[in-house]
């Protein structure tokens, strides 16, 4: 292949050069069949990057003290040099907004463009979880709506009142997500109209539920057998929004806003390994393709490789730097591994992955990206080859035993078990306790009972009573949380107000 002239030789970036790189990387991405939203690349300063961090990575958000706290924390550790800022930040929106920091060198900017604008972008657009749960077209509009609504509430009802409601919602944010049924799409216009109708309608519904007018004897008997709610409810915030007896209609709307935003972030937590792995794989592949065409220099490539190596560095379990499995490392290696299996399968690979061996790697990898989340991705694609390479081992830590036990290591008997164990580590049920709304004492003191379904005897954390206090500020009647173990016994009970 005839080598082209390099796009640049210095490490200073200019807007023209960014455009050149984006054009070339975009051309290669197309050749690799990456399907993306249009890109919107924004160059920002370090301070603006910290602002973005603080508002959970969103370009616009409502005001809340906790964002101030995060900002102060980030600013402090950045100023002391304890941590560098991420080189980029990318938002799942259409067009896909990526932020580049002005401090980056040109090779870093190119890396970020490949990583965010083509890697993450195509993941956002095509992964089934993102497609199903988030609407990239509407998110920025929705945040604009949320910010305006909340600041209006602050004007009307006072900052303190709104803050208390938001605090309570934030405490329950992870339980404001529908895991099984999925929501409709949002648009700003619709949302406004719906919100106004909702305000009126909701209150009438709640009133209906809490009606105190005596019913006829017959109706009463029928009703009595029914539990409320009939089925346990996993979405606690949704339940609150619809059923909390004394919430004002603006508070219901605030609950809804927090819930919607939680829903938007829900897929990100479940695809961290895949999403980062995919982006790393593509910045590596796209930039090497640039290099093969002669469009970038050796110096450029060395800087890229050095950064790439840092990003996918995985300290060993006994290293002082160890803090869990690095999702970048795991994801990147799995993506590379799939390509390897497609192109050069060994006998072992043929046995484990008959459906992958000797197929077109671009199609196979694309399928893997589209139809999996971390849990199923690992269960499906973690290969013995990679288990050996990362020297993974499986450990059992049982509080009832005085010692830890090594259950399996990287050998023939261990592969399948390690794969299962690692996959279940990314199972949402293992990441968060399973807590659901169980019942409401409609006739009595209106107490709300939650059930925590315990697995493997793992108890709830220390802040649980605090969370219940927050729940109580929304529900305004007694709140009870019972931990139910695998034998259906109640092993712990939390009350608010405490008995």
């Amino acid at each position: 292949m005839k080598k082209k002239k390099p796009l640049s030789t210095s490490s200073e970036w200019t807007f023209e050069l960014l455009q050149d790189y984006d054009r070339e990387i975009g051309r290669l991405a197309k050749a690799f069949k990456l399907d993306t939203y249009p890109n919107q690349i924004e160059v920002i300063t370090a301070e603006q990057m910290m602002d973005c961090y603080a508002s959970v990575g969103m370009p616009i958000n409502y005001h809340h003290w906790s964002y101030g706290k995060h900002f102060i924390g980030v600013e402090k550790s950045y100023q002391r040099g304890e941590m560098g800022l991420a080189y980029e930040l990318v938002i799942n929106s259409n067009p896909c907004i990526s932020y580049l920091m002005e401090e980056n060198t040109l090779p870093m900017q190119a890396l970020v463009i490949a990583h965010a604008c083509y890697g993450h972008n195509s993941f956002f657009k095509n992964n089934y979880l993102f497609k199903m749960w988030t609407s990239a077209d509407a998110i920025v509009d929705y945040l604009v709506f949320a910010r305006r609504y909340i600041s209006e509430c602050e004007e009307r009802y006072g900052i303190e009142e709104v803050e208390a409601t938001l605090d309570a919602c934030h405490a329950l944010m992870n339980y404001g997500v529908d895991r099984y049924k999925h929501p409709g799409k949002l648009s700003l216009q619709e949302e406004k109209i719906r919100q106004q109708n909702r305000e009126m309608y909701l209150q009438t519904q709640v009133n209906e539920l809490w009606r105190t007018i005596p019913q006829t004897k017959e109706a009463y008997d029928q009703e009595e057998k029914k539990r409320f709610p009939e089925e346990p409810q996993e979405n606690i915030l949704y339940f609150i929004e619809k059923n909390a007896p004394l919430l004002k209609s603006w508070q219901r709307e605030v609950v809804r806003i927090v819930r919607k935003i939680a829903q938007y972030f829900y897929p990100q937590g479940q695809t961290k390994v895949m999403n980062e792995g995919w982006a790393c794989f593509w910045h590596y592949t796209l930039l090497h393709a640039l290099y093969d065409e002669g469009l970038v220099t050796d110096e450029f490539m060395l800087e890229i490789l050095q950064n790439h190596t840092n990003v996918i560095y995985q300290p060993s379990y006994n290293s002082p730097y160890y803090s869990g499995i690095n999702p970048y490392t795991l994801g990147y290696h799995m993506m590379q591994d799939i390509r390897r299996i497609c192109e050069n399968p060994t006998d072992e690979d043929k046995q484990w992955f008959p459906h992958l061996a000797n197929t077109d790697w671009i199609t196979s990898l694309d399928d893997a990206m589209r139809y999996y989340k971390d849990e199923s991705f690992i269960a499906q694609f973690l290969s013995p080859h990679l288990i050996r390479e990362l020297r993974l081992f499986h450990l059992l830590d049982d509080a009832e035993h005085s010692e830890l036990e090594i259950k399996s290591i990287h050998n023939a008997e261990g592969y399948q078990k390690i794969r299962e164990a690692l996959s279940s580590q990314y199972n949402l049920g293992n990441l968060e306790p399973d807590i659901q709304v169980h019942s409401v004492d409609v006739e009595g003191d209106r107490a709300l009972t939650l059930h925590h379904t315990q697995r493997n005897r793992v108890p709830l954390g220390k802040t649980t009573p605090e969370v219940l206090k927050h729940l109580h500020t929304l529900w305004k009647f007694p709140v009870v949380l019972k931990t139910i173990d695998e034998q259906n016994n109640v092993v712990a009970e939390y009350n608010c107000p405490s008995k």
């Binding site: 807007f15 603080a54 067009p95 934030h170 995985q314 006994n318 869990g324 509080a399």
Partner: protein, 421 residues
Amino acid sequence: MTQLIDRRQNAGKKSTVNRQRFIRRYKQHIKQAVSEATSKRKITDIAKGEQIVIPAKDIVEPRFHRGEGGRVERVLPGNDIFNTGDKVKRQSSGEGEGSGGEASDKGEGDDDFVFQLSREEFLEIYFEDLELPDLVKKELARVTTFKTVRAGVTSSGIPSNLNILRSMRQAIGRRVALVSPYKHQLDEAQEALKALLKKKTPDEAEIARLQALIEHLKKHIKAVPFLDTIDLRYNNRVRIPAPSTQAVMFCVMDVSGSMDESKKDIAKRFYILLYLFLTRNYKKIDLIFIRHHTSAKEVSEDDFFYSRETGGTVVSSALELLHQTIEARYPPSAWNIYVAQASDGDNWNADSPYCLELLRDKIMPLLQYFAYIEIMPRHHQSLWEVYQKVGEQYPNFAMENIDTLADIYPVFHELFKRKVG
């Protein structure tokens, strides 16, 4: 397809509101830290911002999460020694096998939250609800100096202020306005002439007329000057009064035997408050320390607070020195002058009438504000009575009594309270 946007010029500080919310929420903690900080510092370094520590338990955002215990399975990388079935001792905490995976669940750990309060925020909290008294504010605005600022353009001025761009723009406009009617006529005449010349039998008289007209119009156009005096524009500068932004603060203190360490400490805190308060209003502040017993002396800050003298007390000596210093170094036209005097109220009885005279006739007319604090349980001596007379005459003379450390802030607050309406 790709849009590239430079956002660097956009306003940063998007998080300012969130930061303020945070500070509002933790005001109690922050206020406490601020008041502790002020007792430890020198007067002039007081306003440096402060490190605020908020205990982790007060700042945590609670969530439901998994606690420790139960049966947990983990996959870890980098196996170097283990074989299936090996048993490993559990390590109590921190590093080592087993505990690593948990670090990510627990989030930020149990460290206290530490952050730096900026100078502005520090002062904001320190001086909440305080304001220079109305009267003093009026004094603040007193015209003392002038500065020249640009104020648009005018049509008259001196050549060095000529604004060439504006003048040329003016000239172009004038030329267009004056020339265009002639240009139209000229175009028409030329067209007519051309049409006439094409005819087989041209009307000679008409041609001559047109040619004359064309000549005439051309002359007219040429006569419009390129630049006229009415085009000229000059940069305008006006002198506006600028309130003086420098202040001098005199700290006057009795160091006779009866003033012990704790009384001096109270005085120091009062001076700090006043100093800080003034830094919010003035760019430059000089501090002058005058201590006195039977005679007065100007000293350094350290000597002022930490050396002890014995003997009687003659307050007028300090007031005399104060007056001399103002006369010699701080002309009231250029300086805003504040005096804070602290004493235990002791004075040689025969001296008090002289103090009254000095203050009333010589010193008070020069000052913005005079604050006197008496650090003594309430049985006042002659000095207090004399000062009360001054206070009746001058509204910018304030006096208060301080018994204990705890009174300082309320008293200061009282002296500088924001007046309603």
